[in-house]
């Protein structure tokens, strides 16, 4: 599914954000990614959804080496990844349903079909009532539900969530986690980068901790410390 081999990233010489990262995410797995602020969680996820290129090492995504693909090939590979951001990144001048439709429209889907599918997912994520609402009129939790609907509308095989509960209250965070669990049950590989130790504690999934630019598997007994 997603294999990281000796992965390294640095923005300036001599200062590695990530180094020597080896890990393979199995299909259908659910993994938490933790670490202190600035540890490189977002950077690692950015590498995984091909928004950045590693300084060293390689990534294998769905059995393919993205560096060997054309730009269009990489774009098509990205369509198999759903991404959820802490700051939601909804397009402000589009309504909730239009935001959710967007990934389908850029694949050439018909507006009617895309709209129907988007509404179906908004119902699933619990944001259907806000379908015609613009993002700035939605609460953090509502925006995140719309963002999750957008992330999954293309039926991604891999869902990467970067601090998805960082800007929402605890009740919303639990609902968001519930959505991720449902997706995981349907076979989607889920990677959630989070600070929220309650979530990590509550859900018994493997937890990776980024520290000193390196990735460590956290044992169940160490999760609280992570």
């Amino acid at each position: 599914m997603l294999t990281l081999t000796n992965l390294g990233l640095s923005y300036k010489p001599g200062s590695d954000v990530l180094r020597g990262i080896h890990h393979s995410f199995a299909p259908g797995s659910f993994t938490f990614l933790t670490g202190a602020s600035g540890a490189g969680k977002s950077s690692l996820l950015r590498l995984c959804y091909l928004a950045e290129q590693p300084t060293s090492g390689s990534i294998s995504l769905f059995g393919k080496d993205p560096t060997r693909l054309s730009r269009d090939g990489r774009a098509k590979l990205r369509r198999r990844i759903g991404v959820v951001f802490q700051d939601f990144r909804l397009i402000p001048h589009l309504t909730a349903v239009e935001n959710v439709m967007l990934p389908l429209l850029l694949r050439g889907a018909k507006k009617k079909a895309a709209g129907d599918h988007a509404r179906h997912l908004l119902r699933w994520s619990g944001a259907l009532e806000q379908e015609d609402t613009y993002p700035d009129q939605l609460s953090g939790g509502q925006q995140q539900r719309v963002a999750i609907a957008r992330a999954v509308i293309g039926r991604p095989s891999l869902l990467l969530a970067d601090e998805p509960t960082g800007n929402v209250d605890d009740a919303s965070a639990e609902k968001i986690m519930h959505l991720f669990l449902e997706l995981n049950k349907l076979g989607t590989t889920v990677v959630v980068a989070t600070h929220n130790l309650n979530l990590v504690e509550t859900h018994k999934f493997p937890c990776l901790r980024l520290s000193g630019g390196q990735l460590h598997l956290v044992e169940a007994s160490q999760k609280v410390a992570a």
Binding site: Y49, A51, D72, A75, R78, V97, L106, G115, D132, G154
Partner: protein, 298 residues
């Protein structure tokens, strides 16, 4: 639910759109007017060239009494008609001479009777089949009719045509510079728009938009920016052209001024070509500006 066409414009318009549209309208207006004037000048030069081709005029000066010797005129006409390549040589009547002078002296300033009292040269119109006749005629006049001088219209026409074409080239160059300015304006607007919308571009990139999709969006944005300005410019140019055509042609039609239809043909062609050119420029500049930004993304 409002899934209108604007959903295709995930990259929204920037707030500087209208001032830019006005600027584009001015650029299109000046470029269009420049191109049309260049076309009109070229047309006029060609028309004058055709109108005066194969025409020479001989001026026989009056003697000290202010009279022109009719026998000398007849002899000159006979000699000129005998030259190979001359189609016809004939002296102008007093009425024809008066018609030539009226534009300068006024419609009622002269009548034929009073003209006969003036010490005017006798004009002889020479129609030639071969332009080289002038080289034979000039020495003949010098030798046999020293009071006669040859007016070669072709030289004058050539000079005028040359100047007209030079001016037309100047106007074409101006139009080109303006079109480059249009290109730069659209390119600048697209780059500014892209910079403002960079987070949206990055998001589209992440959710799987191909470069072609983002480029297409920016091309549509550029076209939305350009077409109102282009329409305003073309309409303005059309109105100015109509006024120009009305003034130049209708006020003083002569056999040397181009036909009104020819002018309108050029104006119509321009009205079709300018928006096409603007569309092409909008697409190209948007495409270049977008690809420059996208290339920085992996």
């Amino acid at each position: 639910m409002s899934t209108t066409a604007r959903i295709d414009h995930a990259l929204i318009r920037t707030p500087v759109v209208w001032p830019l549209r006005i600027m584009i309208a001015i650029i299109v207006f000046i470029a269009g007017l420049g191109l049309l004037t260049a076309y009109a000048l070229t047309l006029s030069a060609g028309q004058l060239d055709r109108g005066l081709r194969g025409q020479l005029t001989i001026e026989l000066a009056p003697d000290e009494n202010g009279k022109v010797d009719a026998a000398q005129v007849a002899a000159l006409v006979k000699d000129v008609n005998a030259i190979n390549g001359v189609q016809k040589a004939q002296p102008l009547t007093l009425e024809q001479t008066a018609a030539l002078l009226r534009p300068w002296l006024g419609q009622n300033a002269l009548d034929v009777k009073s003209l006969a009292l003036l010490p005017l040269p006798q004009l002889i119109d020479v129609q030639v089949r071969d332009e080289q006749v002038a080289t034979v005629l000039a020495p003949l006049l010098q030798k046999k009719f020293p009071a006669a001088t040859l007016q070669n219209h072709q030289l004058l026409v050539q000079k005028f045509a040359q100047q007209a074409r030079f001016a037309a080239f100047g106007l074409l160059a101006l139009a080109l510079v303006l079109l480059v300015a249009l290109f730069s304006t659209v390119s600048f607007a697209c780059r500014a728009g892209l910079n403002v919308q960079l987070p949206t571009v990055a998001l589209l990139h992440i959710i799987g938009a191909t470069d072609g999709y983002i480029k297409g969006q920016m091309q549509r944005y550029a076209w939305r920016l350009v077409w109102p300005g282009c329409v305003l410019g073309v309409v303005g140019c059309g109105l100015a052209s109509a006024a120009l055509i009305e003034f130049v042609i209708s006020m003083a039609p002569t056999k040397y001024t181009p036909a009104e239809d020819d002018f309108w043909f050029g104006a119509t062609l321009l009205a079709v070509c300018l928006p096409l050119l603007a569309w092409l420029f909008a697409r190209l500049s948007a495409s270049l500006a977008t690809m420059r930004v996208l290339r920085a993304m992996p």
